[in-house]
């Protein structure tokens, strides 16, 4: 016991200082000091790492589950629902109208999700209030045309393998900024493994630098 404490004492600048200054000779106090330090450090560090994100983001369930796999089997690739309009703008989330090219208020399958869709939205002709994971703030102008047509990129490089999703994960919203968590990325440290793990400006700039040799002018992506 005391051995450890001695070690502590010698190991510690404070201790040394104390010694010379002839401060209180109570080693326990000093040991406690360090223990308190470590405990406090761990608690705060861990809560900052693990608890903080829980508080920062609010979880929101989508109106109902959407099965991308099923739909892409039925209607083909992404463009059949998320297409470019003739003026070059991007249609984004399909409107009820385009869903109803196939769907009626009579469900075609057995899933309860489709039932919800049929009753709550098709029958009532209400647009589905989807939460958009990749929603960018109002100050951002993003041209899908430039990336898909001109640069020939695929959806995955930014949106990830979403076509493989059979159910909709909950949407996480930053309580302070109102941003989708996907912008900052799942990792609170902002670490990314895949190109689609984070959608902050620097990520756009990085890719632009690589692909075009220029990180891009502000107005290219801001309005």
């Amino acid at each position: 016991m005391s051995k450890i404490e001695n070690k502590d004492e010698n190991g510690s600048m404070d201790g040394a200082g104390d010694g010379t200054a002839g401060g209180p000779k109570d080693d326990k106090g000093l040991g406690l000091g360090i223990i308190f330090f470590l405990v406090a450090f761990l608690i705060c560090f861990l809560s900052g790492w693990l608890l903080f994100p829980k508080l920062l983001y609010s979880k929101k369930e989508q109106p109902f589950n959407f099965d991308h796999v099923l739909h892409s089997e039925e209607v083909g690739d992404c463009e059949s629902c998320h297409y470019l309009r003739e003026d070059g703008t991007f249609s984004g989330m399909p409107k009820l109208e385009s869903c109803m090219e196939c769907h009626t208020d009579e469900p075609m399958g057995e899933t309860e999700d489709e039932a919800i869709f049929a009753e709550e939205y098709v029958a009532k002709e209400k647009e589905v209030p989807w939460f958009v994971y990749s929603k960018q703030p109002d100050c951002v102008f993003f041209s899908h045309g430039a990336h898909i047509n001109a640069a020939g990129m695929d959806c995955k490089s930014c949106h990830g393998p979403i076509e493989e999703s059979v159910a909709s994960r909950p949407y996480e919203e930053n309580r302070i900024t109102g941003y989708s968590r996907d912008i900052w990325g799942k990792s609170i440290w902002g670490i990314k493994k895949h190109s689609w793990d984070r959608m902050k400006m620097d990520d756009c700039a990085k890719c632009h630098k690589q692909e075009t040799g220029h990180q891009g002018y502000c107005f290219q992506c801001h309005k």
Binding site: E86, G88, C139, A146, T212, C218, F219, H222
Partner: protein, 285 residues
């Protein structure tokens, strides 16, 4: 990407003899760019009008008085020698305003700006405006706001963007139709399209096929009298505001009246008569 093929240099020429001071350009700009309004807009020093129409008089007394109206958007200066160091761009501490070398357009990013207002001090044209108040619309009126230009929050600077979003739209269409370039008429600013007198001509100063180039005939060589000045018009009837400062605006003005052209800049006594007929050398036609 399209703009990398060849650098554009968007600019405009305004025929002051045609301008009637009707104000269409101002309102078209405000409505296109979600510019807010407040109860008292008669205090012009805190009234946001990206496009402002000045009223100039020749200072003569009745009945020899003459009046001309001068619309003043952001001049999108190229800075000394037209290298892109505009008065405002070079001073912004946070890179919230930037010179687009691909378009010659000076951007303003409201979400980056933190409101130090240095750029406003640096701009001699008063083309930059600060949001002293939070924008507020009467109940329901926010329904007419356009999604192409994001509304500004209190505490940031804003200014004319040459309707950059219209350039974006034109490019988007071009991408869709897999075209390399956009047509002259595909990208026109809101003021130019609105002007009932057709006084505003907008286009690419670098593109000889564009009207604005043909009217202005910009001289690509530095002015022998002032090396900072580049792109002087070869048309003696065309001038730029405060050209001598070397800000190199991309907005040109056209007038048959000498006093108007003189009012465009500052001259020492007798100096005007020496320089009035000096213009971009025609040798480089």
């Amino acid at each position: 990407m399209i703009h990398d093929k060849k650098a554009h240099k968007f600019g405009m020429v305004i025929d002051l003899d045609k301008c009637t001071g009707c104000g269409s350009c101002m309102v078209s700009c405000m409505s296109e760019n979600n510019v807010p309004f407040k109860e008292d807009e008669s205090r012009k020093k805190d009234s946001i009008t990206w496009m402002r129409v000045y009223k100039l008089t020749n200072g003569k007394s009745f009945p020899d008085t003459e009046v001309v109206y001068m619309p003043r958007p952001c001049q999108h200066c190229g800075g000394k020698g037209d290298h892109g160091h505009s008065p405002c761009v070079s001073v912004c501490p946070a890179t919230a305003t930037e010179y687009g070398h691909d378009t010659g357009i000076v951007s303003q990013i409201y979400t980056r700006c933190f409101g130090c207002r240095y750029c406003m001090g640096a701009c001699p044209y008063h083309a930059r405006y600060f949001n002293w108040w939070d924008p507020e619309w009467p109940e329901g009126m926010e329904n007419y706001l356009s999604p192409n230009v994001s509304p500004r929050m209190r505490g940031v600077v804003e200014k004319c963007s040459f309707c950059y979003h219209r350039y974006q739209a034109a490019k988007d269409k071009a991408y869709y139709e897999e075209r390399e370039t956009i047509e002259e008429n595909e990208y026109q600013t809101a003021c130019a399209t609105a002007c009932p007198a057709g006084a505003i001509t907008f286009g690419d100063l670098n593109n000889p096929s564009h009207k604005v180039h043909q009217i202005v005939k910009p001289d690509p060589h530095p002015d022998p009298m002032n090396k900072d000045v580049v792109g002087k018009s070869r048309n003696p009837k065309i001038f730029r505001l405060l050209e001598r400062l070397g800000t190199n605006p991309k907005v040109y003005y056209l007038s048959e009246r000498e006093w108007v052209r003189k009012a465009g800049d500052n001259y020492l006594d007798g100096e005007w008569d020496k320089v009035k007929n000096h213009h971009g050398s025609s040798s480089h036609e």
